[in-house]
């Protein structure tokens, strides 16, 4: 199993604990993640400004993967949805593909439309498979309770994700959490958006959205939230202190990347999974799974 590893803009500078844990977990599972030095932004920020410009940016990355004969896996919901949608648009509209290739040809690139893009969590769920994953769980996280946050762009729009999971009542991340031996905490409004997409547009509305979900999760008394998107983590973890202050609340909810808890259940230490890089320290886990 081999994928071109698409890091995007946010993960490599703001979610190094995510990248670190994903790389280690993949290696142990025998999933080869190939770094492609020329990969850059997926095009997401340009979509709101100019749709075709964003298609070209996505296509540059798609063409680079195609050149190596590899499908792409990503760690970020926004990178995934952007390249998946662009890919579908290019396949559905030959005129778009032609225009895009006209642009790419200036750099000796061409995109034929043969690449598939999948979020790493989906790769684990679908391509690797829960049964095989289960064989690697040597230290089940019994007694821990985590609230999964899917993030919108892991499951929506159904236009591109229909074959994967339900757009409003998804199950995949719950199953992935359960595989680690922990309980996946069910809670209302699981599908609610973190607000990350408008943090730079109107902070108070974005924070209000995150506050809403943090409040719901707090009531469930979970050991933490599980995220699979660096933007979602910026909202729930990076901004949690600010939200607590704004709304006069006390949450103190750790937010972990899925690959971190998966790694712990596979026998990695909390140090190896970069838990000390988490902004809200998951203290119980850090103590229980420390190697020193």
């Amino acid at each position: 199993m081999k994928y071109a590893f698409f890091l995007g803009c946010t993960v490599p500078v703001r979610a190094q604990n995510y990248e670190l844990s994903a790389r280690k977990v993949a290696e142990k599972l025998g999933i080869e993640l190939v770094d492609v030095p020329d990969f850059r932004c997926c095009g997401y920020p340009v979509k709101s400004v100019n749709f075709k410009g964003h298609l070209v940016m996505s296509a540059i990355n798609l063409a680079l993967a195609e050149k190596q004969g590899l499908n792409i896996t990503t760690l970020c919901n926004a990178c995934s949805v952007t390249m998946i949608e662009a890919n579908e648009e290019l396949k559905a509209h030959p005129d778009f593909l032609e225009e895009v290739n006209g642009e790419l040809s200036k750099f000796g690139l061409e995109y034929k439309g043969t690449v598939e893009v999948k979020h790493f969590a989906r790769v684990l769920y679908e391509d690797y498979g829960l049964d095989k994953l289960k064989e690697h769980i040597t230290r089940p996280l019994e007694g821990y309770r985590f609230a999964p946050h899917y993030g919108c762009h892991f499951i929506r729009p159904s236009k591109v994700y229909a074959e994967f999971d339900d757009p409003q009542y998804p199950v995949s991340l719950d199953r992935l959490v359960e595989i680690t031996g922990a309980e996946a905490v069910d809670y209302p409004e699981k599908q609610l958006c973190c607000g990350g997409g408008i943090l730079g547009i109107k902070e108070e509305v974005a924070l209000a959205l995150s506050n809403k979900k943090l409040g719901i999760v707090k009531e469930k008394n979970a050991d933490g939230m599980i995220s699979i998107c660096p933007f979602c983590s910026v909202m729930y973890e990076g901004n949690q202190k600010k939200i607590e202050k704004t709304y006069e609340k006390e949450y103190g909810i750790p937010v972990l990347y899925y690959t971190q808890i998966l790694g712990l259940s596979m026998g990695f230490s909390s140090e190896e999974m970069g838990l000390k890089l988490n902004r809200i320290k998951p203290r119980a886990l850090m103590e229980a799974f420390s190697n020193g």
């Binding site: 709101s48 070209v56 919108c152 762009h153 997409g197």
Partner: protein, 167 residues
């Protein structure tokens, strides 16, 4: 809001429908399911996707494009999943933003992001400093070069729009 018929722009809806994502605008039958599904609406009552769609269909171009509301959509796709008419609302919101940009209304946060993309080919710079930090925790260094491909795309598709409108 009183509507003055002579201020309406009859071409506006066609302008939106010509943008990728705007194609299905006229399917809307104003049921309001989108507004009832919208998490932003729950926080700020003034944000109302059904109303934005009505205003667009009526030709209230200036009101739609000048308001900050089109920029408040988080692209969560809840409305799009529930719309009985398959208006593809999230994509429609994006099409309206694209029209706004062409007409010279771009939200400043996007101008800043495009600037960063042109300089670094990424939203955040990865230079020697970031690479040292990465290597220290056992992550590989990343290629730091600004890619000419990205500079070119931004020049061809975006810079002109940000300088003050197309056409």
């Amino acid at each position: 809001m009183t509507i003055n018929v002579k201020d309406l722009d009859r071409d506006f809806k066609y302008q939106v429908m010509r943008e990728p994502g705007g194609e299905y605008l006229s399917r809307c039958f104003a049921c309001g399911t989108c507004t009832a599904s919208c998490p932003v609406r729950e926080i700020d009552e003034r944000f109302n996707p059904r109303k934005i769609i009505r205003m667009t269909l009526l030709g209230m171009k200036k009101e739609v494009l000048e308001s900050e509301f089109v920029w408040l959509c988080t692209a969560c796709y809840m409305c799009q999943e529930r719309c009985p008419q398959d208006v593809m609302i999230t994509e429609l919101m994006n099409a309206i933003k694209n029209v706004a940009v062409k007409e010279g209304f771009v939200h400043p946060s996007y101008t800043a992001q495009v600037e960063a993309l042109k300089n670094f080919s990424r939203l955040y710079e990865v230079g020697e400093f970031e690479n040292k930090k990465r290597q220290k925790i056992g992550l590989p260094a990343l290629d730091t070069e600004t890619k000419k491909e990205f500079v070119q795309v931004i020049d061809d598709y975006v810079s002109g729009l940000l300088k003050g409108g197309e056409e």
